[in-house]
Symmetry: D3
Subunit: 276 residues, 6 copies
């Protein structure tokens, strides 16, 4: 049967669960995956019901990364024999693959990724584009690309240095392709929490997603957008941008609702916020 890159099972009304679902192939990413990811996250971006996303993998591990046979058959089959034209085609393909993960960042709804077992190669590229990373105690991570003879080109080298606080570790991982286990992933800041097993992690992921989904979407999605903006700009530019952003967003009714909850010493989740 064909690969299903995701199954939308909505745990609550406002949380979408996206599952990498090709367990018999260790959720290896093939051609179908690349296009389904884009469709999936573009839809989630537009879906006003969805306020938070949880991503996980079906089966024994999160993902084995790119499907090597698939890549060699489809991606790397040059057309023609002029180097420039082959290069031109390759750049288009790389840009398209990059977009597969960039849609996660462009989706204004926060994305919590829950990793168990293993996360290899393009899997690392993928999770660095997510907002919050969780893992199980048995998880390991591997920046695999150098083992396949290439510099990682769909996000790891670009985002990992901005995601992890130790450049020495980033370099070591990317240059030697050694595995990193859960404890080091936690202490280095790749993940913000480690859980005993997948069940506990999924509960934790849904709990975090629930916290997010229950708050004002104006506040939540504005926060995601501005965090990503800040990462790529100077502090001065970031401050100007959010001031321009909030000159309208502070006029939301959510502010009064939330403030009222705060004054009443209640959780903001006790209020209902309109769709965005």
């Amino acid at each position: 049967s064909r690969v299903e890159a995701q199954e939308n099972v909505r745990p609550t009304e406002s949380i979408t669960h996206v599952e990498l679902h090709r367990p018999e192939k260790r959720n290896a990413m093939n051609s179908a995956f690349w296009s389904e990811m884009v469709t999936c996250f573009n839809e989630l971006s537009e879906d006003p019901e969805c306020r938070a996303v949880v991503v996980s993998g079906a089966g024994k591990l999160f993902t084995a990364g790119i499907d090597l046979m698939d890549m060699m058959n489809n991606v790397l089959q040059p057309e023609g024999d002029d180097t420039a034209r082959i290069s031109w085609g390759l750049k288009k393909k790389i840009r398209k693959f990059q977009e597969t993960f960039s849609v996660i960042e462009k989706c204004p709804k926060p994305v919590v990724v829950a990793i168990h077992g293993a996360c290899v190669g393009a899997g690392v590229d993928m999770i660095t584009a997510c907002d919050i990373r969780l893992c199980t105690q048995d998880a390991w991570f591997q920046v695999k690309e150098v083992d396949i003879g290439l510099a990682a080109d769909v996000g790891t080298l670009q985002r990992l240095p901005k995601v992890i606080g130790s450049q020495s570790l980033v370099n070591e991982l990317a240059l030697t392709a050694r595995k990193m286990y859960a404890d080091e992933a936690k202490s280095s800041g790749l993940v913000s929490r480690v859980f005993a097993d997948k069940e506990a992690m999924m509960a934790g992921a849904l709990q975090i997603a629930g916290e997010i989904a229950g708050r004002s979407p104006v506040a939540v999605q504005g926060t995601k957008i501005n965090l990503i903006y800040a990462r790529n700009h100077s502090v001065a530019d970031g401050l100007d941008y959010i001031a321009t952003w909030n000159m309208s967003m502070l006029q939301t009714e959510d502010l009064m609702k939330s403030a009222q909850a705060a004054l009443e010493k209640k959780s903001p989740k006790t209020k209902t916020y309109s769709k965005l």
Copy 2:
């Protein structure tokens, strides 16, 4: 009685202690606070006696953040009913509030902030603009804004990703408003030291400030300015900037004084450096 945003008690000649002093309201930031901060730090910037600053909070905790009632009465009362004109006014207010904390960064004297009890909302915006962060074992931190229905717009979203090494944690804190306690604040790098209690922390803060104040102000303040510059620019731009900076600063007499102390195996604090 009116709010006193700071009390200048100079522990030694060259260290200024700024205290958030509205303990009956948990040092909540109100209109008076916003303008007094600017005045205070602009004066410290110009005061040649002051070589290091310690910031702390009076009473039970560091700060509860913005005074919600004050904000709702003063900040968010729109004038007129044209959305564009209301927005225009809001942007001006946000920019003014941002400046409240940016003055800490623009002040060339290093600012050590000592946090006890709690540091909530705008308090986090404030401490991310300080240079060195310390806390007590009982301190907790909360990026509260999303609970009030807005994206944090006076510095947290812009500075926290450049202050802490785990982007996953930054996102989690900003999107869920969960509390972070002292141990995680230390392991994530938000603070560089944790103390048993406020007394020990204040002693530690003054000790660090004393180390700073005793060294050459040419060296110290040039270091602060260049660290902030480096954070916002590429390494190449940062190297060019400090070379341009130091082409004059290396001609200081402090260099010879300090080097002499070093050759004599003495602390640089044994020398006297002129005001800057």
Copy 3:
């Protein structure tokens, strides 16, 4: 006898070992050092045999940093008495010293630095320009410049904030010149591994270098170049750059060789890759 800044002992065919070799002066950096570093790394950049570099220090400690007497005699002797012309000359010297360490970054071969004993002042500037940092349990680090009366101007202030995840710690180290020991260096992410003693560390350094040197140089060196590019640019610019880079690099024969090894469940080191 004169200072030997490096001794090329090639542990294996493709790893170069560069040793700071002036043990009687605690490997203090003098005039000879500054020029020999540039020559050494420019040669390594061009040398197709060399695929990874290990840097360490001879004798009791890694390096005591700049040779203060040498600096005061050579660097800081102003010519003439016009401040502008003295400044002009100083800027040229600073730029030249900066280049001493920037060559490490410009060298596309990964550089593993192994630090024992102590790493002081300009030594910290140097190691922040290396790719992977290791140390012994007895090692300590000191951003010493503020003690000599100057803002560090050959790399520490520019690179350390991008190397370590805690800006509070970076500021504390740079403003107070306090020593940081191995454990804090590890937990803060300055080094990615700590070893019991120098012997163990050198074995570890060579093992890491061996992992690197055994992989495709197209993959490895492309990875280093793109990691450094990413650090200085936005994610969007970084993604565009590597797509442009890889449109040719993916056409390497190393990709097929490596992929074949992967399909055979063998290490990529079992294959032979042509020189680059």
Copy 4:
């Protein structure tokens, strides 16, 4: 009948002529236009036959700009009454409209725009995204947005300062909405050539497009992409980018073909270049 935003009449095999074709409404841009532009240029980007594009307007003038009634009915009808949610929706629409003209820049095939009669409001936004601008002697240009009560937000304010050499003129045009006639358009550098009438201009446009289409598409499209890159980056970044670009593109067979033509003192158009 419905609006036809463009008619593809291919003057030669490799030049595509895109015509704004709603002459009875002075080619005013309506909802259909915005989506057809994107489709049209995305197709041209992918179409290997197309090597150059000529854009012009049917009827009496190039374009009267946005269809005001259409905009007021469709774009500016707010949904709901929460300012933040209305703002969120407006931003999405603006970004979509911006994309309408950004596709012209993203299309690697050079776009020659030929303007006659008048080019008003969004028309100016559009032509600043084209590569080469030509006009007739009777053409005039008007940055109209300020007259409609808004700051131009689909490209004019962003691109015009990078397109025209006189910032004083740019400001005057944008702030007063005065008309600029052909002579000033030429002397200020908005257009590179002025023709007596539309017929002459179309011949000229096709001649320029022919020059472009007859040359190596590897050279031509690489030139467009790098010119746009250079406009948005420093010279140093631009030089690094094109070196990375050309490390593959110089391996094209077109280089040998073209060079041979040059050595034979023939036009490069005498050679045939494969599709790209």
Copy 5:
């Protein structure tokens, strides 16, 4: 009598005329000027009545630039004899002088500058910070600083290359201090119009200012702010910024008023727009 840097004669309710008024000294800029400029433009920024500003000079010429005697007495008198401390003080003064002209850019109301006779040295720094430049036929311009032995440091070198389209001319003017006359100022784009004499120019300036002041201040001031933003950022950043800006500003009532005027084929000036 003391120098009056400006006289506010309001030609119409919404246009402010700022005059350099120290004719007996050829409007040379002295200490009083530097501080009065800041006060004046900060007030204009806040004054809701003011919608456009015209700047001109009293007497025989626009300005002779800095008052050399004043500068030598006040600015360049070093305090103390430590080069670093003198440098520190100089930087503060330069930054303060830069701010004198940067306030013109930060003032959101468009500034039309009308130059007659001569505009020398700091005068050129000043006019490059204005939005629209006009001059008389007898006007000349001189980037004088190199003649006084310094690189221009209050704006000319930074803004002139972004104001004029010929970098060769910019370099020639700045490196040789030669005079440029009205015709070349017009053809190079420094000014957008040349008038026969001062009377005609002032009428023209007021007419342009009137065009600006009569339009929606939401549109006009948003345009100025975004034009300046665009000059300093990439096109992509500029497009994102204005979309964020306009998501609120498009909700203005001015849009409907202006659009109505346009549909009625009337000037937007026939409508009344609320203060901003």
Copy 6:
């Protein structure tokens, strides 16, 4: 006989005349040229006698650009048959060629280039890196690279858009390789002056160089460095940089000498300035 890339005939003590001297080959740039340029300008950078440079071409025209046969034999002969390794080698060569012209920009002494006859291909890359461009009435310019089947990669695409005020013209020239004659070169701002013939031009070039060489080198070279810095940075960054620059440079004795000349109504050239 071998190619002489330059002949240093020093017209006056402080002006260096660099001549492209391979007239029998129309000053075509070959391997010798590329390395001699670097040596020449690196020496001029260090030579304290040299305060201004004039570049011109010997024989019938300025330069025919790259020597096609030389390039095809030396540059484009791939080593090996792995595309990645060929690409790697090509990038190194391109970067080296780029450096050939970047040395002109890095040389702090202003470079006046005088063009007669023709300036083709790499000749345009070269002159865009010079500071002031002059030409004869019979000169023409041609961005030739697209005719050879490549995107210009040694500076034209990167610098021309920042040198000329009409982006439409830049694009037309780069995409069609059409010739531009002296009048259009002047009106577009590529050159700042046109002379009747080579003799008049050389006199003019030396006169301009004389104006430059006679002024304070602190002022002149600081001006060049800051103009180039400003081109690549925002206005805010440029202002900060020059303030940091001038905090030392204003302490020069040249300032007093020059100011004294100004007060005496004499030319700054009547004073003598020390070497830099």
